[in-house]
């Protein structure tokens, strides 16, 4: 009971700070998104991220990046091309209001244990919060899809993933390929709470 209330309060606070976003309008507008991102943003397709519980600023910024062509994806880019600022705010508020759940990724326990200390060592927890649930413009990572985490983290490490302000590219650069694997497995193994 505490959790939905906390989420609601967080959503209200965020929406007054940005735009008067409408969660219910967002629910309707999110119907076409469900084909890949699942009902209420709980995706099951490997490689496709779950959006439930993502901070509103994060989802909104990513949609803007798709619309502006800074982030590119064959599926996502056409969807984002025609969204208005209000559509984006509504969608972001809707997904932020959904309780996150861990994906059913198959993780390698050894990699999980190798990855566990890396989240602190590489300061992931500085921005993504100690529980790795994200905040503001910074995404929720705990329990995210393994394939998606691997793709993004390799992309940041190689300097090919779109970055809002360069912080992630800098953070991922010193990682080895093995450490990317380990971190992704660790993040995917977490339950968002």
């Amino acid at each position: 009971m505490l959790r939905p209330l906390a989420v609601l309060v967080a959503v209200l606070a965020t929406s007054t700070a940005a735009l008067a976003a409408d969660v219910e309008a967002g629910r309707r507008k999110a119907e076409p998104c469900a084909a890949c991102h699942g009902p209420d943003g709980h995706a099951t397709v490997p490689g496709t991220p779950s959006l439930a519980g993502q901070p509103a600023f994060f989802t909104h910024w990513q949609l803007i990046k798709y619309r502006d062509g800074r982030r590119k994806d064959a599926q996502m880019s056409p969807f984002a091309a025609n969204l208005s600022d209000v559509d984006m705010a509504d969608l972001a508020a809707f997904y932020a209001a959904q309780a996150p759940r861990a994906r059913a990724s198959t993780v390698d326990p050894a990699k999980v244990e190798t990855g566990r200390p890396l989240a602190d060592r590489y300061h992931c927890t500085s921005c993504h919060t100690p529980a790795l649930i994200g905040q503001q413009q910074v995404p929720l990572l705990a329990g995210q899809d393994l394939q998606y985490l691997l793709r993004l983290l390799h992309g940041f490490r190689n300097g090919t993933a779109s970055d809002l302000d360069g912080t992630m590219t800098m953070a991922a650069k010193p990682l080895t390929a093995d450490e990317v694997e380990a971190l992704a497995h660790y993040l995917a193994s977490l339950t968002p709470r």
Binding site: A17, H60, W61, D68, A110, E113, G166
Partner: protein
């Protein structure tokens, strides 16, 4: 227990034990770098940039407080992350952004403003400057231009490279860009960190000819200046600088500086605010080696835009005063800055430093952040607010 298991497992697997070195071995994100261990759990963090501009009804422009006779109104809105401004020859206002990645053209249609996005998807394009029909844009890694842009706002010309021999570092890599009285393009190359010994190529103000030739450094030891202007009479350069974070609530002060000649060193990272040696990097250097600030503008105030007023709408004492837009603090429990200050230079005396516009905080939270100013033809003053995505116009009537 968990840690022990982790160590045991990784040892059993023959995995690298490199992670056993202390956490400080890996650089933290730039905003957290230099944070002392005792503040590791500090809740202070940069104010996140909202992803969209505020609607006009959400912008309490009447709460902007000004000296008697001055009035602020909402001049333009819906300009996501609106930052630096420059005027085209034909009356177009060009507006930059930072994380939004856009450059805008704002057209004054009498009672309303029309906003066009003329470039998007750019790499923190904070700098815009205009000369002889051409718009110059500074991103982190390059300076480009659009020729004849004012006649092609709906079909902007390709951006052609002016200069791209620039560092690609993201921290403090975004640039202010302006033409000096010598016709050269001036811009900053900030320190790629909160505090560090920067590479020789960083922590400076530089200049290049408008055709991209003749690059040279102008000022050294400048952590990050994203605002400068030249005095209308002396033609000398004045600039704002953000000081390092995590050295205290009230130290060090940000700066307002004077660089009348090439080659001065302003102290970063060895000495802050002219008189405080850096605890880590200042040990072998003396503050007396470096140019002191003209004004200590206050801790964490984040002075951005600097602009000398040359108009005739404001009272005569405003002529040749500098406006200093302060975007406001994050690394301080009590907010500081969030104001437009004014600086009156007085030959042979200390400058006068006083508040011009304030009221951008609602309680302890900003509703807006004044980041740059620009002067209109009629002498009124525009204030860009990157947080609300809006531009305010300040007018004066006796």
């Amino acid at each position: 227990m968990r840690r022990t298991v982790a160590i045991a497992i990784s040892l059993l697997l023959g995995a690298s034990t490199a992670w056993l070195v202390p956490a400080s071995a890996q650089a933290p994100p730039p905003w957290k770098q230099g944070q002392p261990p005792e503040l590791a759990n500090s809740p202070l963090a940069p104010v996140p940039q909202p992803p969209a501009p505020k609607a006009p009804g959400e912008i309490p422009v009447d709460s902007i407080k000004l000296p008697p006779g001055f009035k602020a109104s909402l001049w333009a809105h819906g300009i996501n992350n609106a930052r630096a401004m420059t005027w085209g020859d034909k009356g177009t206002l060009f507006v930059s952004s930072r994380v939004a990645g856009n450059v805008y053209a704002v057209l004054d249609k009498g009672n309303a403003r029309e906003v066009k996005t003329i470039a998007k998807g750019l790499n923190l394009p904070n700098g815009v400057a205009f000369k002889n029909g051409t718009l110059y844009i500074a991103e982190i890694h390059r300076i480009t231009k659009m020729e004849g842009i004012e006649d092609k706002l709906d079909n902007p010309p390709a951006m052609t490279v002016v200069y791209d021999t620039l560092p690609k570092d993201a921290p403090h890599g975004w640039k202010y860009l302006a033409f000096g009285p010598d016709g050269k393009l001036y811009f900053n190359i900030g320190a790629p960190c909160n505090v560090c010994i920067p590479p020789d190529t960083h922590a400076n103000i530089s200049r290049v000819n408008a055709d991209g030739t003749g690059f040279e450094y102008w000022a050294f030891g400048v952590r990050n200046s994203v605002g400068f202007d030249w005095h209308p009479v002396t033609k000398e350069l004045y600039f704002s600088t953000h000081a390092r974070d995590w050295m205290g609530e009230d130290t060090p002060s940000d700066r307002f500086d004077h660089a009348p000649k090439k080659g001065l060193h302003f102290g970063f990272p060895y000495c802050h605010q002219g008189d405080i040696p850096d605890p880590e990097f200042g040990k072998d250097r003396a503050c007396a080696e470096f140019a002191p600030p003209l004004i200590k503008t206050g801790p964490h105030v984040a002075g951005n835009g600097v602009m000398f007023y040359t108009g005739s709408m404001f009272p005569p004492e405003y002529k040749n005063r500098a406006f200093l837009a302060q975007r406001g603090s994050w690394n301080r429990t009590q907010k500081s800055g969030y104001k437009v200050m004014m600086v009156t230079l007085r030959p042979g005396d200390v400058p006068k430093y006083e508040v011009f516009a304030e009221g951008f905080l609602s309680g302890d939270q900003p509703w807006g952040r004044p980041v740059y100013t620009s002067q209109m033809k009629d002498g009124s003053l525009l204030i860009a607010d990157d947080y609300a995505g809006a531009i305010y116009r300040v007018t004066y009537q006796k």
